[in-house]
Structure formats: C-alpha cells, structure tokens
Symmetry: C2
Subunit: 453 residues, 2 copies
Amino acid sequence: MAKKPSIPKGTRDFSPAEMVRRNYIFDTIKGVFCKYGYMPLETPAMENLDTLLGKYGDEGDKLLFKILNSGDYLKKADETLLANKDSNRLTGQISEKGLRYDLTVPFARFVVQHQGELTFPFKRYQIQPVWRADRPQKGRYREFFQCDVDVVGSNSLLNEVELIQIVDEVFRKLGIRVVIKLNNRKVLAGIAEIIGEATRLTDITVAIDKLEKIGLEKVNAELAQKGLSAEAIDKLQPILSLSGSNSQKLEQLKEILAGSETGQKGIDEISEVLDVLKELNLATDVELDLTLARGLNYYTGAIFEVKALDVEIGSITGGGRYDDLTGIFGLKDVSGVGISFGADRIYDVMNQLDLYPPEVTSATQLMFVNFGAVEARYCLRLAGELRQKGLRVEVFPDNAKLKKQMNYAHKKNIGFVALVGEEEMNKGIVTLKDMNSGEQRSVKPEEIAEIIR
Amino acid sequence: MAKKPSIPKGTRDFSPAEMVRRNYIFDTIKGVFCKYGYMPLETPAMENLDTLLGKYGDEGDKLLFKILNSGDYLKKADETLLANKDSNRLTGQISEKGLRYDLTVPFARFVVQHQGELTFPFKRYQIQPVWRADRPQKGRYREFFQCDVDVVGSNSLLNEVELIQIVDEVFRKLGIRVVIKLNNRKVLAGIAEIIGEATRLTDITVAIDKLEKIGLEKVNAELAQKGLSAEAIDKLQPILSLSGSNSQKLEQLKEILAGSETGQKGIDEISEVLDVLKELNLATDVELDLTLARGLNYYTGAIFEVKALDVEIGSITGGGRYDDLTGIFGLKDVSGVGISFGADRIYDVMNQLDLYPPEVTSATQLMFVNFGAVEARYCLRLAGELRQKGLRVEVFPDNAKLKKQMNYAHKKNIGFVALVGEEEMNKGIVTLKDMNSGEQRSVKPEEIAEIIR
C-alpha cells in the first residue's frame, strides 16, 4: 500500500496538543456542571433507526449515517426495489441502526426507557460526538462533539436561572467574554396572536431573526411576500423597533401584548428569570432579544443563545425549555430545559484568542537524558521517586545522541531536563536544565520536585 | 409511539452512577499514563473501509460495522450483483466507511499520515469506544471501550519496563491484585526451531496455550493430530514442564534453546526486562509464562498479559512489542510496544470486588430544600457562595413536598441537606442535616463548607 492513508472527509484526528486543549475545555465545563449537581450520562453511538427517524425533519433523516446490517443483508430485500435501484426505500430493509445525530433524542429515549429507575428532576450532562452526513465546510464537521446539560421533570424557572449561572461561570472560567441572549417562545406566540397571524409564527420569527442581518425594510418586504397582511405588518413595527434596557423593553412589551394571555405569561417568565438573576452577581450581561428564534419546533418557553464578544463566530452555546421532550417516545408531560455548549466553536474561539493558561500546553515536567544502560537504570529509580511525588516524568528510552534527546524534550514542551552521567552518579547529584531559561545547575535529587513546582 | 424505546443489542447506556465509576477508572488510568509522559490522542469513529479491511482477518472483516453511503447509494451499483443479491460483493459499492474495530489500526494510520509532524519516540494513549458486530453475550458488547497506551519509534527494552511499571501502578491505584505474565515471541519461535518445526509456530503455541486448561496429555494429543512428529513432541516435553522461579526457568530455557539464535535473543530480552524491574520495587509479581501466546500475528518481541488474582475473569490487560505496526500503511521499520487495558473487564472486577473509594459514589455534597420563592432566592445566594468555595451544591428547583425533596437527596446520595425557612432566614442560620447520621444542627452559613469537608 503505497498511498498515504487518510480519514473520511469531515472527520478529524485530535493530536495530543489538540487533545490537551480540548480536554481543558471539557474539564472546565464538566467541573461547573458538577458544582450544580449535574451528573454524566453516555448513550451508545448507534441507535435503532426507528428511534432516530422522523425526529429531525426530512432533511435530518437524510443526514443520518446509517449502518449496513451485518451478514447477508440483501437476503430479505425486495427484488423490485433492487431492480429499480430505489435507494430511498431500500434503506429500511438493509439498515436498522444509525449513528446518533444529536444528544437530545438519545437523552429523551433514555429517560423514557429508564423512567422507573430515575429520580426527578433528573439533571444530566452528556459530552459525546454526534455524526451528520452534512457537506463538510470550514467549521462544519461530519463528526463533532456536543456538550449538553439538561434538567427534566421540573417546571421551575429556577432551572433557567441555574443554566444561565452555569453559562456565566463556564465562560468566566474559560476567559471568553460573552453576552447571553434570552427570549421566550410564549412572547413570540403572543406577538403572532396580537397581530392577528397566530398560525404564522414560524414565518414571522424567521423574518424577525434576519433583522440584524438585512434590516427592517427587507424584513417587512419578506413578511409581505410571505402573505402577511399590511395591517399585521403595521402592528409588528413597534415590536421590531423595541429598544432600551431589558426592563424598558419588558414595559413596552407588556402594553403591546396586553391582549394575549400567552404573551403575558412569556413576559412574566422572562421577568422572573431576570429578576432572580439580578441578585446573583453574574459577570455576563443577559439581554432580552426578541429576534432570537432558535429551535422553535420544540422550545416552548425560554430560549437562550450565547455570543462571543471578541470573535465573529455566531452562537457558541444555545438552548431552551421544551415542555414535551419525551412525548415522541410516549411519555407525556415531562418538561425540561437544557443548554448545548458548542464545543468545536468554543475550541475555535479559545484558539483564536489564545486563552489557554500556560500549564495547558505542556505535559511532561521533567525528562532524564539517557546516557547508557547503567545511567538509565539509575535514572529510572529517580524518576519513580519523582512520580511518587506526583510529577510527570520521562526517561528517554534510547541511548541516542544528546541532540536528538534534547530536541525531543524541546518539541514536547518539557520544562526541565535532567542530565545524569557517571560524574553525577558518583557525586549523587543531578544536572538540571531549565528548558525555558536555558539555565543549568547541579542539584540534589530530593530538591528536584520543589524546583520544578 | 406506544412501544417503549430500546437500544441496539450489544450496546449500553451508562447511567450517572455507572459513569461516575467508569470515569474514576479512566481518570486513574489516565493519571498514571500522564505521569510517564504519554499524551492523549483521539481518532474519528469512522475510518475509510480501505484502512480497516484486511487488517483483522476474514472474520474481522465480517465483524466491521459498515456505513451506508449517503444519497442515492444504489445509483452506481452493479445490476448483476443486485439481481443476484450478492451482499458480499455489493458492500464495497454501497459503503466506503466503517466504524473502527480497535484502536491499533487507527493509531498506525495516524502515525503514517502524520509522520512528518510527530516527534519520535511517540508516546500516546487513546481511550475510545470500538465497535464489532460480534454475537453479544455476557461480558461481550458490540460497543465497548479500549484503553491503549503505546510508544512507537524506539527499540529500547526500557519501554517494556515502563509499560510494566504502568500496569503495576494502575492496578495498585485501583486496588486490584494482579499478576503480570510475560513471554516473548522470539522464545516461542526458538522453541519451534529447536524441535524442528519452525513453520508450525502457530499450531504449537495454540496447543501450548491450552496447557493450563486441558493438561499435558491432551496438548500432546493435539500436537500429534496437527501432524507434529513424535520426535518434535518429545523434544517439546521439557519446555512444557518447565517450572520454578523466573530465573530458574530462564536457566533451563537457555540450555534447551542453545541452538537457536532467535531463542537466545528472546531469553536475553526477557532477562533484561526482569533484571531492570528488580530494582524498581513493583508491588506486582511479574511471571515468565511460555504458554502466553496472544497476538502472534503481529507481536514480534515481548508479550504481556495481566490476570486478576481475586476474580475469575481471564485477562484484563494485555499487549506486546510489534516491529512493524505501520508497515501495512507503507511506513517500514517503526517498532512499537503497547498495552491495552480492558476497560469493561476492569469495570466488572471493580464492581464485583466493590473497590471504589467512598467519594466515588456521591456527587452533590449539599442540597438546599426549596420552601418557596423567597426562601429559594435566599438559598441561591448561599449556594453560589459555597460553589465558589469549590463545593458541589444544588437548590431543589420546585417548592415540592418536603418528603419528595428529601427523597431526591437520598436517592442521589447527597451527603448534607440544608433547611432554610423563614425562621432560619431571620436568624441568619441554616439547619444542616447530615444524611448519613440523620443528625441535624443549626450552623452559620460560613461554617458549612468546613463541616461538609
């Protein structure tokens, strides 16, 4: 095999240097989740296709990676479908499993399947890869990580508050300056109701969503084109041009939505969340944003989105409240609220802004140079003692040229190198070289740990 | 959908309680790897089928999970194959990706693909799931985790020594008593050579491997049946009945294998490894075991296997030296040595022997009971302060019945519950209940962290 091997397009290897950075991000996030009582969950990469199909729309169904059945998979396949090369309809006959497309559906499936064993409210986080047969492009992969945190089985708005606290703490810890945008599906529904177009919620929000990008005029044109009456568009104007602080916006909304019970409920929910947050000293601004309309297919209450302030990258985290997550699997009335951290985008932001603390880039703290069999054995003992003190230590395995060994230490970002030849062994000392300063000095073995720390 | 959802056979959900235990195992293992300078690597779940096929034998090829191509996958498929329902030959036309079957082949692929960027010796560990379309049975899954640690690009036997140190330290940390069995492919080759059956290495080792199970007589019968000459079997007897300490066995072997250069080389390698280990104070016995013949298709030097002493479970860790890992991808002469920790079996052993430290079973340390909106807000502030001190704290989100809240804390193994009603708020105190002892007392908020720790 002469051809250099490769990996499927849209997938990635994560080298040690990348892994260390990614682990830093994941560990930071996990650490915060734990502090709020969320527990880890993992589900299998493969789910039955009947669990996955029909949950992500027709487009989503096409983007599922399907697993070919094992063995003689064509045996029971329909001859006519084969003869007609009907890929679409054959799939169900030769494949019964697919790779998970997100973590939400597997989570819902898990909750329903294990409902008898769970204690509610059930607070879990899940950090695993998902797969989508999307066209790969910059920043979009066919295998990527999702990092979800959800609580199901509680209607309390304190859960929304808690998730916002978590977002605040995660990004504060990572050093990424963000703004948290907050909206509520009930407010959007109230707006549609008030302007007399209750059934056109999606059209309205899709248009509103573009406000920042294309401007008010074009949004109005789009709404008209979608068939909204001039009167409805007219009524929408004060909402589209809402401005001021959160409480100013809420005041105006309250008046505008006076005639909608749903709308009032949404305003109350937003107000309560913002009110409780006020006392909790967040470092992050939380901003009411009516143009936020993500996930309208399933969100029923709060909608969240997080944007990085110092990088142009779109949303890096988002989520919301869904009143019927598990209904698709036959378990009614389990309300939940959750947030998904966009691991890959967060990784990109961290890299662009170079936000990693210095200790994240290095791994091994000390390497013993190998000057031959006798010296190496001596160093193995010293290395063992230092590891017992908690240090990360290597002994170079081969008696290679010093230059090669030093180059290895340099490339691997090892902080200190220990040189122990015959002379050092006789004197019971170690020549310790600081790889950053280049400084070299003779020390006693028992002094090493302290110097390196 | 009335039917309760399920997952594909041979796959598993890992509940929070299971995840916490598994993470404890993985974190322990990773911690040891890091202390020896091994760095994390991750490769994609999907590999191109031409990377995977032909690497695991015909049986392995069948056990690969293949991904159905996206879109109109039948378009270019051969009509005749479809008409003949030739599943076998159609596969290559409708599938070009498969799920990884182990971590070794993806690692070899990675090393070849990125050889220019790597610094050798390259020390990496990799902990990821792998997938095999095996018949599921007790303890055998279709999705399971491998946990591999390898160093490539160094011939030094110090690598073998280091891996044995790692095994020793991992199992010492986990509290599993084990024995490490050591063999060497060159010794086995020497034996085959000496008895005049150099080409029959596999037959001989397969038979030897059964010694413990079926006894000497049946092994001899099997060898005869396989066509080994009576003379060869005769010459094999002193080897099969080798006994005593490692050095006694090595002494005898040295004589028996005097005529085989390869055999001598193998003995020298084993001797050196054992000799260096002697000075390193392992807690684990390392035992020369000629019946150990795993992975003969690829191992060229040392062969390792680890057995738990207190549970009947077979090998829980194994590995060896391979002189040509990357040859299959066109990069010659890259020698490596590695060990794979059997994560699922280790998990089973840990569970059977109940070896988890107490802090592993619990997550949240303190839960505030929710007595209503005003009290909850007050508790949110206290919870925030305690989290800043590093504690894992929950505030129950709903103003539910006390019994339900206490039950939640109990089920979740939460150590302490804080009750803060109107009276406590007025007095600036917290009623703290130790969920283990049932003891309840009034404390100041600033005392809580210390009490819980």
